[in-house]
Amino acid sequence: MDKPDPTRQAKTRTIKESLSREERQKQLEFQREAVVHLNALYNYSLHLTMNPSDAEDLVQETYLKAYRFFNSFERGTNCKAWLFKILKNNYINRFRKNSKEPGKVDYDLIKDFYHSIKDTRNDTSETDSDYFHSLLHEEVYQALHSLPEEFREVIQLCDIEGFTYEEIANMVESPIGTVRSRLYRGRKLLRAQLEEYAKKYGFNNDNDNDQ
């Protein structure tokens, strides 16, 4: 009775092997499909949390969840969109509850955040001595963040991340028509903001003088 049963042992081993093979397959696929979007997720997370360490936490959570539920990812659809949706839901559950009043913009916070992160994490080869360029980046960032969240969100997803309206509609859980009109209105607001900045620095006269 206590003798090991060779057939049973063999069986166990086959199950283990196939499990492992399956798991490995999953890992490889996950890395190919999902992990490649790490930078995009991290950036979106930074925009949402405005805090590098929260951003990292959020991305980690997102990947953990995504990996666990990777089987439910519909193959052939946009994996990046799927990940963004998970990240956004995580963000809402975890961070937004105790966040500051919506609609209020803390420009000092944005400025500090943008500068601190720019110094350490900037991936572009642009030199920091180019004051004009760095200023403009910051202005655009501020202008974007001055928009109500519902507008800012769709602009980010569309212009920065390049999602289609359908993907965005799915992510923000609104009809495509709503996405369309939010983009339209959001961009109008944004342009007004940018024109303000441009006027301030006097380089907005695209019609009358091409310097």
Binding site: Q27, V35, D159, I160
Partner: protein, 85 residues
């Protein structure tokens, strides 16, 4: 198509998200309305500015490593079990 109708379609056209018939009507209107044409050019410019001026950061290496670990936390165990083959 009047300006009011065209105005709503501007940003969707910039994104290439109009249906064929919408796009046809919209472009027809642009060809005869300089004001909307200006609006359209401005919308295109705004999109470009956002694309170019928002800096994309690279995820910290530590994050990259921890994500890789996270998605392979079972591998060692499985590899060990394979060693007994």
């Amino acid at each position: 198509m009047n300006c009011k109708k065209a105005g709503v379609l501007i940003s969707a056209c910039v994104d290439g998200e109009l249906s064929l018939s919408e796009e046809r009507d919209f472009l027809l209107h642009l060809s005869e309305c300089s004001e909307c044409r200006g609006e359209y050019e401005d919308a295109k410019k705004t999109k470009m500015i956002i694309r170019e001026k928002i800096i994309q950061f690279k995820a910290p290496e530590t994050l990259m490593i921890s994500i890789m670990q996270l998605t392979s936390f079972n591998t060692k165990e499985h590899e060990e079990s394979l060693l007994y083959e």
